[in-house]
């Protein structure tokens, strides 16, 4: 469980089930200012958890408080929240500026024009602000949605898979913006199923797997746990028997066996070292490596390992 001295968000023993399906199971953590990454594979329960934290969905048991208040059915509190869901929740018939203005008016923003200008500038969309949202690319819609999320200056941002559809330049801009907001004292909860995305942004990570909190804390600790898990690596080369004889002697290798098709399957708990040792070994033995690929590098297997561990 993650604990924060003065939690902005407190999730206490929260579960949520839909009929017989348990989406979130007895999750407890605190979130403080800065960027917190909600990491987990697709279907892990991140979105359900995020929706409960924003008050959009009810908990089946447990309670969630934001700034010490119940978040569910508490409209005055929503003035302090900015929520960007993973879905493209825009009105295609509006221009980008109209959308941001409408969101500002609904949230009682004073000096609306200034706030809208500022929010649109923050996401670098001033040039396209008068075009209908229907004509935007997905990345542009994401940025205008972020402007609409920021227009009322919320204290907490909930962002569900915010980098979906963004091109590399937009990603860089987006990350810089989030870091600025975090430095300004905002609390940002960022959900993603992409490890590297969370690694680049979040100071604290909550790892959600099968609706449970599998791990939490600083990213280094999570990353270390990931690095210590056993990996299967498939190696295709022109002389597998000779390479296998050399590989078993490598310190980074736990086991090796040969597939019926002649490929080697190497089990290693230290892939970082294996990445260095294997090419060196092949070069020394004059063996040509044709293919080296991880067999289980999907997030699901990583999370599965952490949960089982």
């Amino acid at each position: 469980m993650s604990t924060v001295s003065t939690p902005v968000i407190r999730v206490d023993g929260v579960s949520r089930w839909f009929g017989s399906v348990v989406a979130v199971s007895d999750v407890t953590f605190d979130i403080g200012p800065g960027i917190t990454g909600l990491l987990g594979p697709n279907g892990a329960g991140k979105t359900t958890l995020l929706r409960m934290m924003t008050g959009l969905a009810a908990t089946s048991s447990g309670k969630i408080t934001v700034f010490g208040q119940h978040v569910r059915d508490n409209p005055p509190l929503y003035r302090r929240l900015g929520v960007m869901s993973e879905h493209e929740t825009v009105y295609g018939f509006m221009t980008g500026r109209e959308f941001v203005s409408m969101m500002g008016r609904l949230r009682g923003v004073e000096l609306l024009d200034n706030a809208v200008d500022h929010a649109i500038e923050l996401v670098d969309m001033a040039d396209a602000q008068h075009r209908p949202l229907d004509t935007y690319s997905r990345g542009m819609r994401q940025r205008m949605r972020l402007a609409a999320t920021l227009v009322h200056g919320p204290d907490i941002l909930f962002l569900d898979e915010p980098l979906n559809g963004a091109d590399p330049r937009q990603r860089v801009h987006f990350k810089r913006l989030l870091q600025q907001l975090a430095a300004a004292g905002k609390t940002i909860v960022l959900s993603s199923h992409i490890l590297e995305e969370v690694e680049e942004l979040a100071e604290t990570v909550l790892l959600i797997v099968n609706g449970k909190l599998a791990a939490s804390g600083g990213f280094r600790a999570i990353r270390a746990a990931l690095n210590q898990r056993p990996y299967h690596v498939r190696v295709v080369c022109d002389d597998p028997r000779r390479l296998a004889a050399g590989i078993v002697r490598l310190p980074s290798v736990d086991a090796v066996h040969m597939d019926p098709d002649g490929a080697l399957v190497v089990l290693s708990r230290n892939v970082t070292d294996l990445q260095v040792e294997l090419p060196r070994l092949a070069q020394a033995a004059a063996i040509r490596l044709r293919r080296v690929e991880p067999m289980d590098d999907s997030l699901e297997s990583v999370f599965g390992y952490l949960v089982e561990g």
């Binding site: 008050g55 959009l56 409209p75 005055p76 929240l81 825009v90 009105y91 409408m102 609904l106 949230r107």
Partner: protein, 237 residues
């Protein structure tokens, strides 16, 4: 409230929806003209029963209102934009009331013109009868709207369920089972019409005016409260 009202008007003012509503609402006028031109002109009671009750208030008005009101929330639930409103720091009634007002604002002109022209043609410009028919139809629009706005919030099958309600409840059962008339928006509208022009319309088996007004207020307020309650308790997608 103005923001939600304006947004709903824009969302529901699609060209095809407006064309369909125009076509539907012109039907009672066309039928009235055809009936009056035929060699055997109907009696007031026959005209009331066939055109004003069964057609205008029992079919056309609810269909036009259903096409608009059911979409007021169900479209937002479907495309997941409802969270834009429910995450605003405003009480839930400030979402439900402007949604209802916007749907009434859109549907009422179509039915008002339809009722006015139908009455004007049928009763040869009789002002009191025309007002009675037009006003009672407007009340029907408001009542149907409150029911269908709520329906759009509780199910994504609002159009289908609404059609069943119109055909089975308002069209079939309320025409044959007298007790059902106490729970029929169509018959509240007709009772109001009778109350507003007793001279023209013969007293037949509809709820008394006072009861119809009381039940109308209950229906309008009840469905509005249910919609507000639903907004507070539902899981917003």
């Amino acid at each position: 409230m103005g923001e939600v009202y304006r947004l709903t008007l824009r969302q529901l003012s699609g060209r095809w929806r407006l064309i369909m509503m125009t076509l539907l609402s012109s039907l009672p006028v066309i039928v009235a003209v055809l009936m009056l031109r035929s060699s055997s002109a109907p009696s007031v009671w026959e005209f009331e029963s066939a055109v004003l009750s069964a057609m205008l208030n029992g079919a056309i008005a609810p269909l036009v209102v259903l096409a608009i009101s059911a979409a007021a929330f169900s479209n937002e639930v479907e495309d997941r934009t409802l969270a834009n409103l429910t995450l605003a720091p405003i009480p839930r009634w400030k979402i439900a009331v402007p949604k209802l007002l916007a749907t009434i604002s859109l549907a009422a002109p179509f039915i008002a013109v339809s009722a006015f022209l139908t009455a004007h043609v049928a009763f040869l410009g009789d002002t009191q009868a025309t007002i009675a028919i037009t006003v009672s139809s407007m009340v029907g629009v408001a009542l149907y709207a409150s029911a269908f706005v709520w329906l759009g919030l509780v199910t994504t099958q609002a159009i289908g369920i609404g059609l069943l309600y119109i055909v089975l409840w308002e069209g079939f059962f309320s025409g044959f089972v007298s007790g059902v008339r106490l729970l029929s928006i169509r018959h509240y509208a007709i009772a109001l019409m009778h109350g507003l022009d007793e001279r023209r319309f013969a007293p037949v088996s509809h709820p008394p005016l006072a009861i119809a007004i009381g039940l109308s207020v209950l229906v309008l307020g009840g469905f509005l409260l249910l919609a507000i309650r639903r907004l507070r308790r539902m899981d917003v997608p």
